[in-house]
Symmetry: C2
Subunit: 209 residues, 2 copies
Amino acid sequence: MEQLFVTSSGQLRQRWMQAFADARAALRVADAVSLAPRDPRILWLDASGLDRTACLERVREAVATGSRVVLMSAVPGEAEAFEALNQGAVGYCHVEAAPSQLREIALVVEHGGLWMLPELVQRLMGLSLRVVPTPAPAHPQLDTLTSRELMVAGRVARGASNQEIAEALDISERTVKAHLSSIFDKLGVRDRVQLALAMNNIPTYTSVN
Amino acid sequence: MEQLFVTSSGQLRQRWMQAFADARAALRVADAVSLAPRDPRILWLDASGLDRTACLERVREAVATGSRVVLMSAVPGEAEAFEALNQGAVGYCHVEAAPSQLREIALVVEHGGLWMLPELVQRLMGLSLRVVPTPAPAHPQLDTLTSRELMVAGRVARGASNQEIAEALDISERTVKAHLSSIFDKLGVRDRVQLALAMNNIPTYTSVN
DNA sequence: AGAGGCATTGGACAAAAGGGCAGGATGTGC
DNA sequence: GCACATCCTGCCCTTTTGTCCAATGCCTCT
């Protein structure tokens, strides 16, 4: 299977060539894909030097090409790993991973597996358990919220007060309340507690009974 | 790597032998492990005919032996998959999986990967995203709460108002407030929103930053 | 009996939260 | 231009939430 590395630095190409004799590199996802039009290919994305948004954007783009995507981070973190995998990546490792490890990862990914740092696997499993009973995805109708409302809702979902939200978004507390009223209305909840729970897909007392 | 199959039926051994020439089978986990005392081994558990509890118990036992564990289910389901993986299994597939697929799975698992049905991977990722920021398991110290406090906290965790809690527990709203103050203090949260989130093991804005 | 924890409540008060009404400022599409 | 949505804000009001100080009764342990 083709091994395509996408990086802006190009510093690490030697290591990669050591892992895969036929590895090729490119600056952008589109370039890499055009190097190997055949479908089964692995795209290795170098996340170093990219902020979270740009990184996720790149993962999404890479996944959309139909490739198996492995994200390589300079500072592997839980949040980044999950976000990447959620975008459709099937691997997450250190950007400085040894050639032998890269080959192992390639092997796993080529055969339909998922590869990530062992401790992250552990963590992922622990997380999923408590969500298991959820029968349906049952996401609230978040798409009915405007972008601003989503920001407010997101912060309430993490326990922020109106004052904190106002400061974070640099708007008045009154505006936060206005957004909240609208959110309550759209999502059919009555207060911030129920909103916080709904945002986390947790059923509410009144909705349960 | 040793391939050890644990099954009570023995009906499917032929298929397994077809996948792995050196496969061996046993009735119980302990027997299987004694067949191959060397550490790197894959234990394939046949879940058919076992109820959920027995099945999970077996997975746990198998994981405890230090083996890579793959659970094979006759009726693969989301909940079962997550529970199994949460117990430490690294694979989950159909018990009737084709020999070629079994070999792929073995390959993935041997190299530190995780293998499960593609649609389950998708689901798993979707779930994990919303829990991502959790920095620690951070179970609230619920044992420090008195029984009455626990009742109140439990209802707040499902979005109830003070008034509703008072009515449900047949006490005055004032008492509910008193309990809440005590709860906030003990759990180190500042208001009912953060309490609701904490009770559901969801990290809080202020604890993250 | 006395100490201490727990559950309960009251009154008073302060701080959030939430909503009604009214307005302004941007956009976008018809 | 006009309608419409979104975003932002003010004033003022009610409700809810949360805290402080104080008190009573019950129970257990010493």
